[in-house]
């Protein structure tokens, strides 16, 4: 029988796409969304393994992740708004006063 490896590969791909998105994109909002994509990749893995093993932990963990992601998104968006108010941009390359 087919194990959860396919799901794991899918989750890996999702995670990688998200990670590359974070690295490559300049728009803070899209970066935030890429992070969400990574979290979704994680969720896929949890759920797949949980269901394969018949263990509820995976599912529970996924819910937790979703909850936390929601909270994170809320905070993140509010930060973005604050930034936009001050600088009228959310391009991260222009948000580099702090460096070195």
């Amino acid at each position: 029988m087919m194990g959860p490896s396919a799901y794991l590969i899918l989750s890996g791909i999702l995670f990688a796409i998200g990670a590359i998105g974070v690295v490559a994109r300049k728009n803070a909002l899209i970066i935030l969304m890429s992070v969400e994509l990574m979290l979704n990749g994680v969720n896929v893995a949890f759920v797949a393994v949980g269901s394969y093993m018949g263990d509820p932990t995976g599912g529970i963990f996924a819910f937790m992740v979703m909850t936390v992601a929601a909270a994170e998104a809320a905070v993140g968006l509010s930060i973005l708004i604050a930034i936009y108010r001050l600088k009228e941009t959310i391009d991260i390359t222009e948000l580099s006063v702090l460096k070195w």
Binding site: V35, F61, M64, L98
Partner: protein, 491 residues
């Protein structure tokens, strides 16, 4: 579905195991409510209220003591180890709150949400320190992180603050994702997230052949490394520390780091031995690179806050030395060091907050010219904290480093110890540079006039100084405490 029989004693145990956290959460909510009812000139009460909550939690921690209480089906464990870190975190929190009494007014943080965020974050830290399930650790991590993101950007009219918050937030989420994925892989490899079970499975190298498990451990490590700011996951640290309101910086550098290390030490002590041939070199390299990069980056820095940020990176590297050593002694050393570090770092920030007139430019090192002689007590205190950070006797910082490096030497990591001590010699330069400005340079124009600290603030500074000195001269009791807490971890 499996029916779980209701067991009241288990519920009671569960409640007991999170009693301090519960106190903190209640306080947080109370503060938030009280804020609504307090007039502008009564807001100072919020701070003391929060402090009361923290002290109560601390009291509760000691009421629970080091006896082992497992709650929530093994998701959380209150034991000696937890007690030690609860002490560190709550002390840090208490110190920060004490300092807030003299700080919030002018920094614009005299608000209920500020305090409740601090309390919430502290709650997360306690959970993280006591979590015995990957899930609890993750929850704790997020509970501590999300309030911190907000706190960093609390002065949202300041560009640097909000920029720091954004960076910290984006990277924090990014780093958390890595940790989570690591947890997922571990779960995939073992089918469990309970640390005791994982220990059982991995002990003696039982899981060392599983790539999935190894990759999971690696990503887990990345997650922690991000939080404790190890190279190359440290890059957010200087920016976030510089941008954040200084009080928050102090809180982050002491408490967040302690909590993250608490979980890391737990994982390292329990799970790394099973994969030690693989993960040992990684830790070694991380430790060396972290302290080196942290130290040399600080050398040419002119912003004192940023200097201390880089210094905090370097200190993470030193603490890693204890984890590389990997034995009881190493972990004890790490624990001891985290305690000392919390006090000396908060102390240093505390003095700087008095001296600096405003955020950002206020922390330029040139502002320190002539402070030492004009304000001898402040100068002496800052010097003491810096000397301790540099690891020179007779301060706690020295004993801590001695302890860490002795663990390395004991386990044969002579070169690591040598690199470590050379690093601390290099670090002398930038710590002393601050002293140079305070004492050796003649001021150009007026010497800045520091703020007069209110009683609570002064008390906090004195407490920091006292602890740093006492740990430097009679560290015995705390050493025993660290020893026992690590032992309780292994039970």
């Amino acid at each position: 579905m499996i029916a779980i029989p209701f067991d009241s004693s288990q519920v009671m145990q569960g409640i007991a195991s999170i009693a301090p956290e519960a106190i903190l959460v209640c306080t947080a909510i109370t503060v938030l409510m009280a804020d609504l009812f307090l007039a502008e000139d009564g807001k100072w009460l919020l701070c003391w209220l929060s402090l009361a909550g923290v002290l109560a939690a601390l009291g509760e921690v000691y009421l629970l003591g080091s006896s082992r209480i497992v709650g929530f089906s093994g998701m959380i464990t209150s034991d000696g180890f937890g007690m030690f870190f609860s002490t560190v975190v709550l002390s840090a929190c208490a110190l920060v709150l004490l300092m807030a009494t003299g700080w919030s007014e002018r920094a614009g943080t005299q608000k209920g949400e500020f305090y409740s965020l601090i309390l919430m974050s502290t709650t997360g830290m306690l959970i993280m320190a006591k979590g015995t399930d990957l899930m609890t650790i993750f929850l704790g991590l997020e509970t501590l992180s999300i309030p911190i993101y907000v706190l960093v950007g609390f002065q949202r009219s300041r560009m640097t603050a909000i920029e720091g918050a954004l960076k910290y937030f984006l990277l924090g989420a990014f780093g958390a994702a890595f940790m989570l994925y690591g947890m997922a892989l571990i779960y995939a490899a073992t089918g469990t997230t309970k640390i005791p079970v994982l220990v059982y499975m991995s002990v003696g190298g039982g899981m060392a052949g599983s790539s999935l498990f190894l990759a999971g451990m690696g990503l887990l490590l990345v997650g922690f490394a991000f939080k404790v700011s190890l190279f190359p996951f440290h890059m957010w640290t200087p920016d976030a520390y510089e941008g954040a309101p200084t009080l928050v910086t102090a809180f982050m550098s002491a408490a967040v780091k302690a909590a993250a290390f608490a979980a890391l030490v737990r994982v390292a002590m329990l799970l790394f031995p099973g994969v030690s041939p693989a993960i040992g070199p990684v830790l070694w390299v991380l430790a060396v690179l972290t302290m080196t990069v942290g130290n040399i980056s600080a050398l040419g820095q002119n912003n004192v806050k940023r200097i201390l940020a880089y210094s905090s990176i370097a200190h993470a590297g030193y603490i890693m030395v204890g984890l590389v050593a990997g034995d009881l002694l190493g972990s004890q050393a790490a624990l001891f060091y985290l305690l000392v570090y919390a006090f000396m770092n908060i102390g240093a920030f505390g003095v700087l907050m008095l001296i600096s007139q405003k955020e950002d430019d206020g922390y330029d090192i040139h502002n320190l010219r002539g402070i030492g002689f004009k304000y001898p007590v402040l100068g002496a205190l800052l010097t003491l904290f810096l000397v301790s950070l540099a690891g020179i006797p007779p301060t706690g910082g020295f004993i801590g480093k001695f302890y860490l490096f002795s663990a390395a030497v004991k386990n044969g990591y002579i070169w690591l110890a040598i690199l470590g001590v050379l690093n601390s010699a290099a670090s002398i330069y930038y710590y002393l540079r601050i002293v140079v400005y305070m004492y050796f340079m003649t001021p150009e124009g007026e010497v800045v006039t520091p703020h007069t600290p209110p009683f609570g603030y002064a008390l906090a500074l004195c407490a920091c100084a006292a602890v740093v000195l006492v740990l430097g001269m009679i560290p015995g009791a705390v050493l025993t405490m660290a020893e026992q807490s690590v032992l309780s971890l292994l039970m």
